[in-house]
């Protein structure tokens, strides 16, 4: 593989919670995560709420400061960038957020929203040139150039998400982090947005980190998938292989839980094996974080923490595979 566009090594993001009398329990939102993303590649990141997948995305663009570990973008260490260098880095890395109702300023017109990043980074000389670019972008995402003077409230959820995408594209980034970009949309609109993101990738060769809790959508768009549980990656591999032959017990449970829109498949399904619910991230279980719900848990799982290891061409963090 050629040099990856993004490489993350042992990344940790901890949050201190308010505690009195010197007791500050720490939430380990991202706990020692390593992976890399190649050019023209989409890495899907799935997990249930509270598993740290969004925090991981936000740490990469440095909205949250990493507690430990390194992030390399195009081979350059960006972990402790500040000021102008950080600004330059953010030109190459953009983000699309989950809720298109909350992520657009309702007092700005669509033109102003999409133009703003160009103004901040001093791209294209004049407002006129910028507006030309805005019109181009609007056409790319399937909106009309005369939408430029409208306000966000005049658009539906799917159209708003298209505006968010064109804003992210305004700086010709090399990498976009999509944080649950479709979960707030209706199914018929979700497919439109997924196809749009794929088309943009074909045209520009951009890389995505696609964060979602819906494994179905993630499998469709991603080349590789990482599964997160309580701050750690438990499995990472090629999306088809991971889907058809999940190794980690958590991945297996997750796949089994997804209702498939096909009655015959659903009738043939066995009931889900895992028990209980997500333990508190304030008080992680010792050893493997999943052992409290795992049907295969043994003594060793409580004592040692399994690390990601190569198993049949993919990485799994579980003692079942040696």
């Amino acid at each position: 593989m050629s040099e990856p566009i993004l490489q993350v090594e042992h990344l940790k993001t901890y949050f201190a919670t308010g505690g009195r009398f010197g007791k500050h329990p720490v939430v380990k939102a991202v706990n020692d995560v390593s992976f890399s993303i190649g050019h023209h590649e989409t890495l899907g990141l799935v997990g249930e709420s509270g598993c740290g997948k969004s925090t991981l995305g936000r740490t990469i663009v440095k909205i949250n400061q990493p507690t430990g570990g390194k992030i390399y973008f195009e081979g350059k260490d960006i972990t402790s960038l500040k000021g102008k260098e950080l600004k330059d880095f953010r030109r190459d890395v953009q983000m699309i957020f989950q809720d298109p109702y909350a992520s657009l300023n309702s007092r700005m017109t669509v033109g102003e929203i999409i133009r703003e990043p160009m103004e901040i980074h001093g791209l294209y000389g004049s407002t006129k040139e910028r507006d030309e670019k805005v019109c181009q972008l609007l056409e790319t995402v399937g909106l009309k150039p005369d939408h430029i003077r409208r306000y966000p409230h005049e658009f539906s959820g799917g159209q708003r998400q298209r505006i968010c995408i064109s804003r992210a594209l305004a700086l010709n980034p090399k990498f976009i982090i999509c944080d649950e970009p479709i979960s707030a949309l209706d199914v018929s609109i979700q497919a439109q947005i997924i196809n749009l993101l794929q088309k943009i990738q074909e045209d520009t060769g951009i890389s995505y980190l696609f964060i979602a809790h819906d494994l179905g959508a993630v499998k469709h768009i991603s080349h590789r998938i990482g599964v997160m549980y309580l701050g750690s990656l438990v499995e990472l591999g090629d999306s088809d292989e991971l889907y058809h032959n999940p190794k980690h017990p958590y991945t297996q449970a997750l796949l089994q839980s997804i209702p498939i829109p096909d009655p015959k498949v659903e009738r043939a399904k066995k009931p889900v094996e895992i028990s209980g619910e997500l333990p508190s991230p304030l008080n992680l279980p010792s050893g493997c974080a999943f052992r409290t719900r795992c049907p295969h848990a043994c003594e060793r799982c409580a004592k040692e923490t399994p690390q990601l290891r190569d198993v049949d061409g993919r990485q799994v963090a579980c003692f079942l595979y040696k």
Partner: protein, 332 residues
């Protein structure tokens, strides 16, 4: 006799912009012991149709036409001689007793300042007139039934002490308290994680079988429908597009909207391309005169714009309202 029979139900909302026709001429029936799925996108009227049945419409909403027969009795508000007052009095006896509801967001449904016991015994005291002692016993039974460990201790706790999945179990326990004949579940698992969703669906299914009650499940997730429902109704723009058993809808869909909907959901089992439906749903302030789907339909004809399509019966359980099917019938 069907447990619930809804005929030509029409519900309107008065807003500053005008009349929103949220539910337009909806008819369906529900048998005893059946799980019926109601599927639609946001704004399709699926929740409002059910709120009309329950009498839980917002103050600007009104059932303008149609009949709702529950267990043989008419419960549509305009059929009460004594007006809204009599209707409300009647519905108070039915709601939470014979028909109960499970809502989407477990946190906003439970009262955060009352403990679980108070909320759980309320329907028992009001409808079944049990004593405090008996109601408490029953509450413990209910919590055990929905799979909450150490129910005695849990009764004294408050909603914030429970996780999302546990809260949804409590809501199910409240809904089941009076052995209702009909449970209306409005997106009961949308706010939950998939592994928890699978557990809650299993629970609803097994309780429904045990108690032989009927369930109406409002959802936008066709996977959930395939998992749990017997029959399904597809709503779009306030109207029923197609209805049938899940096998009929999934394996022999006739309406272009149903076909479109199935084409744009991710089925990870098959590696199909996604075929999104272009455009967006109609504005129900000025609903289209003909078929509501006409602007997004690939197979739209001239007549689709002018006249609403008639309902074609394809099998005793399968019906579809589309001019394509009507045309086929005429040609036969």
């Amino acid at each position: 006799m069907s447990l619930l029979e809804v005929n030509h139900l029409t519900t309107q909302f008065t807003t500053e912009q005008g009349q929103v026709q949220a539910v337009r001429d909806v008819s369906f029936s529900l048998e005893k012991g059946e799980i019926l799925g109601i599927v639609g996108e946001s704004g399709s009227g699926k929740s409002q149709a059910m709120y009309s049945v329950m009498g839980l419409l917002a103050s600007n909403g009104r059932v303008t036409e149609g009949s709702i027969r529950f267990n043989g009795t008419e419960i549509a508000p305009q059929h009460f001689a004594g007006g809204m007052k009599e209707y409300e009095a009647h519905m108070r006896k039915i709601r939470g007793n014979e028909i109960s509801m499970i809502f989407q967001d477990p946190m906003s449904f439970l009262n955060p300042v009352l403990n679980i016991e108070t909320q759980l015994v309320e329907p028992l005291l009001n409808h079944q007139h049990l004593s405090r002692q008996e109601a408490r016993q029953k509450a413990i039974e209910l919590l055990t039934k929905v799979g909450i460990p150490s129910p005695e201790a849990r009764l004294k706790q408050y909603p914030h002490e429970f996780s999302g999945g546990m809260r949804q179990r409590i809501i199910i326990a409240i809904a089941l308290a009076c052995n209702p004949k009909l449970i209306i579940a409005d997106e009961p698992t949308t706010a939950l994680d998939v592994t928890i969703q699978a557990k809650i669906l299993q629970l609803i299914k097994s309780l429904q079988e045990q108690m032989d009650s009927s369930v109406i499940l409002i959802t936008h997730d066709l996977g959930v429908v395939a998992n749990i429902c017997h029959r399904v109704i597809i709503l779009y723009g306030g109207k029923i597009m197609e209805s049938g058993t899940i096998d009929e809808i999934f394996y022999d869909p006739r309406h272009p909207y149903t076909i479109g909907l199935l084409g744009c959901v991710n089925n990870p089992e098959k590696d199909q391309e996604l075929h999104p439906i272009p455009g967006s749903p109609p504005d129900l302030l000025q609903p289209p005169a003909g078929c509501p789907f006409v602007d997004r339909c690939e197979k739209a004809m001239k007549i689709c714009k002018r006249m609403p399509p008639p309902v074609s019966t394809l099998s005793p359980t399968h019906s579809c309202s589309c001019w394509l099917e009507a045309k086929k019938e005429v040609l036969k």
